[in-house]
């Protein structure tokens, strides 16, 4: 019995079944290349960055380090990494102390690995600073990584990119790390390190309980300690890896010479460490020794402006050593001849910025008018009119005044439009520093004039006398009215006082 008979299948049906079977087999055999047009295939899909490194015999040393430090596992994970792998020949001269010390080796290896993928697709003149796994930023361009050349770029893997470089990228110190471990310029280094302060950060410390009375947390001693440094907070934070700076380290002789130029302006008998003459002087030398921006030796201009608006004179022949730090440049200088006049600038005290009055109840007599000077420039003044108080003192608290002899000038003009004080009158300035009073004596105040020449004289700075500040610190300046209660006699008027230090 044949099959067709058993199942009663006709010839036509049999033929159709045969055709359908043929079609089915053809269709399944077909690979749908159209559907796969967007898929990435090849070894980039299957190999990790670590596999890629292992596949390259020329990277076996680095591969060994990766395994030794444990980074091999990390770059095998599913996050994305970029690895700049030095060749075997690049690593053969690596300092043995790094190779043998696992901790150092770990930092070294991490200096070649970054999170995220970075390809060399940027324009040739663009430098990126890439954050490495060890927290340092390393410059990366189309052709270079730090100072090494990229010999094989953009090896894509399933979890990142591999670049092969022909030299190792040694871990660089930051400016602050370099200064902390400097072997030259020790005086400056010692002073800077003396500015370190250790304090407990309440957000980092371990809390052992809460004070039942105040409700404040009780901190475990010795935990959450952080070190701060006044130089870093007040001048420039050159320990910050993220930004770039240029720092000048003065050799001991130079540091001493600059201090010697300034020391007389910081005469102090204070027992507080920060306020001794030598520390104040040191501070005023170092406060102008760091700027923002990385200036390589070629880019270094003849002078830079410090954060305190003092020009930093740079004599390139005085550079003893330079160091390219991870966040900028450090220059060790054999001399740096700062201008004392810029370090000890003229002090201007605006009349309207009053600290206190010697008499209460005169607020109705105190005015802060705005006037237009002989050149049409508006200025604000203090005017005390009709106070009825004899020898009224208006006090100005001047802070951190260097010890020096000052030439004192004022600008005060009566008889301007709208000023009821149309005639001249006397007032005086008294300075009080370290319990020493300097009375410059009553002087007449200028009166505005309709004559242009006379008016220009009235509006010029008027020399009042000299004031000697013997010790660095706070000075109280008092503007004192005439010893009279009469209107138009006991008036006080002040645009500003200028204290011009005599630089010797």
């Amino acid at each position: 019995m044949i099959l067709s008979e058993k199942y009663m299948i006709g010839n036509t049906t049999r033929f159709l079944m045969f055709v359908m079977l043929c079609v089915l087999s053809v269709m399944t055999a077909c690979k749908d290349t159209w559907k796969e047009r967007g898929m990435v295939s090849g070894e980039a899909m299957t190999l990790s960055v670590m596999d890629k490194i292992n596949a390259n015999a020329n990277l076996s040393t680095f591969s060994g380090y990766l395994i030794k430090t444990g980074y091999a596992e990390i770059i095998n994970t599913s996050k994305n990494y970029t690895v700049w792998a030095p060749t075997n020949s690049a690593l053969q001269n690596l300092d043995a102390s790094i190779v043998t010390d696992t901790a150092k080796l770990k930092v070294f290896v991490a200096n070649h690995i970054a999170n995220l993928t970075y390809a060399t697709t940027v324009p040739a003149d663009t430098t990126q600073r890439i954050l490495m796994l060890n927290g340092k930023y390393v410059p990366f361009t189309k052709n270079t990584f730090d100072e090494a050349n990229i010999s094989l770029a953009n090896q894509y893997a399933k979890n990142g990119i591999l670049h092969v470089i022909d030299g190792a990228a040694p871990v660089k110190q930051s400016i602050w790390e370099y200064v902390s471990s400097a072997t030259i310029g020790l005086d400056q280094k010692t002073y800077l390190m003396s500015l370190n302060k250790t304090a407990q950060d309440t957000s980092l410390a371990t809390i052992t309980g809460y004070d039942p009375v105040t409700g404040k947390p009780i901190l475990k001693p010795g935990t959450g300690l952080v070190t701060t440094n006044r130089f870093l907070s007040a001048v420039k934070n050159v320990s910050n890896e993220q930004n770039q700076y240029t720092f000048f380290l003065l050799a001991d002789a130079s540091f001493g010479a600059e201090k010697a130029k300034l020391t007389k302006y910081y005469n102090s008998t204070s027992i507080f460490p920060d306020s001794t003459t030598t520390n104040l002087t040191s501070w005023n030398v170092v406060k102008d020794l760091a700027v923002s921006g990385s200036y390589s030796p070629n880019q270094l201009p003849a002078q830079l402006l410090s954060v305190n608006n003092v020009n930093i004179p740079i004599n390139k022949s005085a550079i003893i050593a330079s160091y390219k730090a991870s966040n900028g440049w450090v220059y060790v200088m054999s001399s740096m001849n700062f201008s004392v006049a810029e370090k000890i600038p003229t002090i201007t005290v605006e009349g309207e910025v009053v600290s206190s009055f010697s008499s209460s109840g005169i607020s109705g007599s105190v005015f802060y008018p705005i006037r237009s000077d002989n050149k049409g420039i508006p200025y604000k003044t203090l005017e005390v009119y009709r106070s009825g108080v004899s020898a009224l003192n208006v006090n100005y608290r001047l802070r951190n005044i260097p010890s020096a002899t000052y030439k004192v000038y004022w600008r005060a003009i009566a008889g301007t439009t709208g000023d009821p004080q149309t005639v001249t009158f006397n007032q005086k300035l008294v300075f009080n520093s370290s319990n020493i009073a300097t009375d410059l004596g009553y002087k007449p105040v200028s009166v505005a004039s309709t004559d242009a020449t006379a008016n220009a004289i009235a509006y010029s700075d008027l020399y009042i006398g000299d004031c000697i500040v013997t010790k660095y610190g706070n000075v109280t300046m008092s503007l004192v009215s005439a010893a009279s209660t009469a209107v138009n006699v006991n008036t006080l008027l002040l645009d500003y006082v200028k204290l011009v230090p005599v630089i010797q």
Binding site: V366, F367, Y368, P369, S372, E383, T417, P420
Partner: protein, 588 residues
């Protein structure tokens, strides 16, 4: 077959006949929530409703009025937020589709006025309201229509003058029926219209009238147009200076017979700040004992006294009423909504489309005060810097960005300072330069009193010198001596527009320099009346009178130049042709 059709038709017709016949006046049922025109004017209350309705509709023109009069002129500038149509106004390159240049909204109110006037006449003939009520209402609406036509004339040059009650603005599109009149011919028509008015006085409705009431926190008296002021404006535009001065003087005399001396002395007299009342710049420190010495920071930002208070007080306050001749308050509870918040504010609901022009800011900065402060403090009270942007404050002092939907404020139209400046303009042209100078600068008494007689025993002669030596309308009595309060002339507190705000007087040589003083009067408008919707008209009027387009073109050019607008030179060249001052008259 035909028979069947016939039967079918007959049945249908029968049904229709039955259903329609059964309905009573299917097509004549009157709507229950709308007033039919036949019932609209039955008595004086209906007439009052018509007047209020007209003014309500008129208030919708506020935005367009301020934009056309300020953005086209030299004190207000557009910001980057401004829409393209506003920028067109700014650079005098208005296209036909610009909604701000559309005359239709003006004509809609005009046609409403015409309709109301027609119906008032009918009511009068049918004795549906008293003659007195009719005269006041008719004159009020007629004056408002004159105001609208004058605005159209200023903005469009020549416009169709329609007094018929048309039912739709579209009827006006037929230019053959309504030929256009140029500004000069239009002024003749308007002056003739107003001269035939049955009733003229400052107040449209005196106290006690059913239209002069206090409601929702506002008084209605100053919401209606001032007829003397309007006639003064028309005469000033026409160049009839004596007639203009007469009418303006009538406005100053509005409260001349009031037994309340505060109202009598202060209303529209531009007086110095007396400690209780005053609308000039003031300082909170110093005083006469201190020779007028002031701290810069003591500038008064009071919202009840002084320059700023003019734009803060409600219209029921005495101080407000001493200054404002015509202003329409917005109430957040009703339409129309205050449009100025959006235009000017840069916080809350503000869109900050307009800002003070640098020319205006510079003008304030270069006008010193008599107390030695080297700038005009009216600037600080007219605009202020909010979040780093200069913001026009005059319209938005009562606006709190934290309550963005409560948009209080007013549409400010006419006030005392503007009245004095316009009067001075007329007086100056009529040969009374010294009087014009006095009203601009230091006031009547300071200018005319003979100081050499001050210390003499001849009090009578001294007092006599305090009355201006002219006939009306140039006669002002500013008599005052401290020792005898019986001698107090109605204008003894007059301080002059500049004097009131403490700004240094201009040189007395201008008293005999007619064109020089006229320019100074216009300059003063920028300091005192900036952003209040007067500027374009002031510039056009004087430039037109002098036949000197550069008077206008140069000022607009300076604004655009200081704003860094690249079209500044093009605009100046354009405005040197008078025809280009006017907007295209295109119906939308």
């Amino acid at each position: 077959m035909k028979k069947i059709l016939f039967i079918k038709m007959s049945v249908l017709i029968a049904i229709m006949a039955i259903t329609l016949g059964g309905c009573k006046k299917v097509f004549e049922v009157l709507p229950e929530d709308k007033l039919d025109i036949n019932n609209a004017y039955k008595n004086v209350a209906d007439a009052d409703a018509a007047v209020i309705g007209i003014y309500g509709k008129f208030q919708n023109l506020a935005k367009q009025y301020v934009l056309l009069n300020e953005v086209r002129a030299d004190l207000l500038d557009v910001t980057n937020n401004a829409d393209p149509y506003l920028k067109q106004l700014n650079t005098h390159s208005v296209t036909g589709d610009n909604p701000y240049a559309d005359p239709r909204p003006f004509y809609e109110v005009i046609l409403n006025c015409n309709d109301v006037l027609k119906n008032f006449n009918i009511m009068n003939e049918k004795h549906l309201m008293s003659v007195d009520d009719y005269q006041k209402r008719y004159s009020d609406i007629l004056t408002l229509r004159c105001f609208l036509y004058l605005q159209l004339g200023i903005q469009y040059g020549s416009v169709p003058y329609v007094t018929d009650a048309l039912s739709s603005v579209d009827d006006l599109k037929n230019e053959s029926l309504f030929p256009k009149l140029n500004l000069d011919a239009l002024l003749d028509k308007l002056i003739a219209d107003m001269k035939q008015m049955p009733y003229i006085s400052s107040y449209s409705y005196p106290t006690g009238s059913s239209l002069s009431i206090t409601t929702d926190g506002s008084n209605t008296q100053r919401m209606f147009i001032n007829k003397y002021y309007m006639l003064g404006e028309l005469q000033l535009w026409k160049g009839n200076y004596l007639e203009a001065a007469k009418n303006y003087k009538n406005v100053m005399e509005t409260e001349a017979t009031n037994t309340n001396t505060n109202s009598m002395f202060n209303t529209f007299h531009v007086n110095y700040n007396d400690g209780t009342y005053g609308n000039g710049v003031s300082y909170t420190d110093g005083g006469t004992n201190y020779g007028g010495l002031h701290s810069e920071s003591a500038l008064s930002y009071s919202i009840t006294y002084g320059f700023k208070s003019m734009f803060c007080l409600s219209n029921t306050a005495a101080n407000w009423n001493h200054e404002w001749i015509w202003a329409m308050p917005y109430n957040p509870g009703f339409n129309p909504t205050n449009p100025f918040i959006e235009l000017f504010a840069n916080t809350g609901a503000g869109k900050y489309m307009l800002k003070p022009a640098q020319t205006a800011i510079d003008a304030w900065a270069s006008n010193p005060q008599g107390n030695g402060i080297p700038y005009d403090a009216r600037g600080k009270l007219s605009y202020t810097t909010v979040n780093g942007q200069p913001v026009v404050m005059k319209y938005i002092y009562n606006y709190d960005p934290l309550v963005p939907l409560t948009r209080n404020g007013m549409w400010y139209l006419w006030r005392g300072a503007g009245l004095h400046l316009h009067y001075a303009e007329a007086a100056n042209r009529d040969g009374k330069g010294k009087l014009a100078w006095a009203l601009l600068n230091t006031g009547i008494a300071n200018t005319f009193a003979d100081a050499t007689l001050a210390s003499s025993t001849n009090t009578a002669a001294y007092l006599a010198s305090m009355i201006t030596p002219y006939e009306e309308p140039y006669r002002f009595n500013a008599q005052y001596i401290a020792s005898n309060t019986a001698y107090r002339g109605p204008y003894h507190k007059n301080a002059g527009v500049r004097g009131r705000s403490g700004v240094v007087a201009i040189n007395t040589s201008y008293q005999t320099d007619m064109t020089g003083l006229e320019s100074k009067l216009i300059d003063e408008g920028s300091l005192e009346l900036a952003f209040e919707g007067n500027r374009w008209a002031d510039l056009v009027r004087v430039a037109r009178r002098r036949n000197d387009p550069s008077f206008l073109a140069e000022r607009v050019y300076q604004k655009l130049l200081k704003d860094g607008n690249s079209e500044a030179s093009t605009v100046r060249a354009k405005l040197m042709n008078i025809e280009n001052w006017y907007l295209p008259f295109k119906w939308k």
